[in-house]
């Protein structure tokens, strides 16, 4: 940082006396006291929370990489097994086909149809198994913990939820909390899970509609347990992705 000027000791020659006096007045009302203990504690808690989130995110990312690798391995085995099964089916069916085709012309049409159906249905089954494998694969991905789908909840679904306005965040958060029926022990609303992650320290999670000058956005409020002073921290996360955008201290419930 470059050298600072000293507003009192080194008067700026460019300033007229009136501006110089205002400058001195301002210098005299600067805030010298250290940060209040409760604010310092709040910031320390915020840093600890961020560090925890980052640690969880890192471990989740690592397990996700493992899971993807595992899934790829499973997929390779599934493909190999299906391919082997197809070879077996063709191996068994082909000699029969030859026999049927060679058996007589009168039944050839039906047999041919039958024989043609066989590989067809076999082929269908093969694709179906493959498809199921894919389906199961993606299904397990969607349902696995810590890997929420990224699609935000539909706006229509949120019409019943409380409004939180940017300009009256603290008041609206308190109102949303009092209106919410979510209990700390209740399972998380699927819409929240679909939107983003919830910190482990959350005491209560409330789905809301966040209103800013640029429009309305689905999101959720995360209330942390009240501190000693009976106040609790509330953070607003918006969808998609569960991005934290606002936080404030509010009186405990």
């Amino acid at each position: 940082m470059s050298d600072e000027h000293d507003p009192i000791e080194a008067a700026d020659p460019e300033l007229d006396p009136e501006q110089e006096r205002v400058r001195r007045l301002l210098a005299e009302v600067r805030h010298d006291a250290p940060i209040p203990a409760e604010v310092a504690a709040r910031l320390d808690a915020a840093v600890a929370r961020l560090v925890d989130e980052r640690r969880e995110s890192s471990s989740r990312e690592a397990s996700r990489v493992d899971e993807i690798a595992d899934r790829r391995r499973r997929k390779r085995w599934t493909t190999a097994l299906v391919a082997a099964a197809a070879v077996v089916v063709v191996g068994v069916a082909a000699p029969n086909l030859d026999l049927v085709v060679g058996g007589g012309s009168d039944s050839g049409g039906d047999a041919a149809t039958s024989a043609n159906d066989e590989p067809q249905s076999s082929s269908d089954r093969e694709f179906s198994e493959s498809g199921n494998a894919e389906e199961n694969d993606s299904g397990s991905a969607g349902g696995s913990a810590g890997e929420p789908p990224s699609s935000p909840p539909a706006a229509a679904d949120l019409s019943a939820y409380a409004l939180v306005e940017e300009s009256t965040f603290r008041e609206d958060a308190v109102a949303a909390r009092s209106q919410a029926v979510t209990e700390s022990t209740a399972p998380l609303d699927a819409r929240v899970v679909a939107c983003g992650d919830v910190p482990a320290a959350a005491e209560q999670v409330v789905l809301v509609r966040y209103v800013t000058q640029s429009g309305e956005q689905p999101g959720y409020l995360v209330f942390e347990p009240a501190a000693d002073a009976g106040r609790q921290l509330v953070t607003l996360y918006v969808c998609p992705g569960g991005v934290p955008v606002r936080s404030a201290e509010v009186p405990g419930a």
Binding site: R23, L26, R30, V51
Partner: protein, 238 residues
């Protein structure tokens, strides 16, 4: 301070350690500057509650965006920039129209500002009362300025940062900072002259010593003002 982060560890080293995954580095870094950042947030926001919210927003933003720090400025300048921007975002969001004329509810506004500033212990109660009243008046007037002017004055005139640093903090040209400061001071001068003159004329506290010397109402123009309380200036980076 942890054993792995001694006082000799520079701000930049701490920031890089944080980006590399060190779980303690950011706390140590922010702890070094938080008193100063608190002062800036408090004077920019005007009350402790909003200042705490703004400072926390800035902390979260700095934690998450540390990887985007390019090293063009000092780390402390960058931290100030993030915190000031967080405060300004909050002010804008709350649609604070600080440029309105000095409001009728000035007394109520005054009570919202923190008054914990250095005051000469030798002043008698009457002098302290006048000094407090003057301080309230100045802070309340400051809150009526547009937020960009206020932020510039807080950083330049209160905290003593160099114009070039403030320009980086506010992401604007040095000339813009000068212009904002000049316009802000001119507006404050207009707002404060009558009120401080009235305060100085108060027979119960009509002293001209101590902080009263800084008033606009009863002092000849151009007279030097002795300082009992010089600004800190930016902290020296380890």
């Amino acid at each position: 301070m942890t054993p792995s982060h001694s006082a000799d560890t520079s701000d930049l080293e701490l920031l890089r350690a944080h980006v590399d995954g060190d779980p303690e580095a950011f706390g140590v870094l922010f702890g070094r500057h938080r008193d100063r950042l608190w002062a800036v947030a408090l004077r920019t926001m005007g009350n402790p509650e909003d200042a705490a919210d703004g400072l926390q927003d800035g902390l979260i933003a700095a934690f998450r965006r540390a990887g985007s720090f390019r090293g063009d400025a000092a780390v402390t300048t960058w931290l100030h920039r993030v915190v000031v921007n967080a405060c300004l975002d909050r002010l804008r969001a709350a649609k604070v129209r600080a440029a309105d004329p000095l409001p009728d509810d000035l007394d109520e506004r005054e009570s919202r500002g923190s008054l914990r500033t250095a005051t000469a212990a030798s002043l008698d109660p009457a002098e302290l009362s006048v000094a407090d009243e003057r301080r309230r008046t100045v802070l309340a007037a400051l809150q009526t300025l547009p937020e960009e002017q206020r932020a510039a004055l807080v950083l330049v005139d209160m905290e003593g940062y160099a114009m070039a640093d403030v320009a980086q903090m506010l992401d604007c040209a040095v000339g813009t900072v000068k212009s904002r400061c000049s316009r802000g001071r001119a507006r404050l001068a207009g707002l404060l002259t009558d009120r401080l003159a009235a305060l100085d004329a108060d027979p119960t506290g009509g002293t001209t010593s101590g902080p009263g010397d800084a008033g606009l109402g009863n002092r000849p123009a151009g007279r030097p003002v002795p300082s009992q309380d010089p600004p800190r200036g930016p902290p020296a980076s380890p």
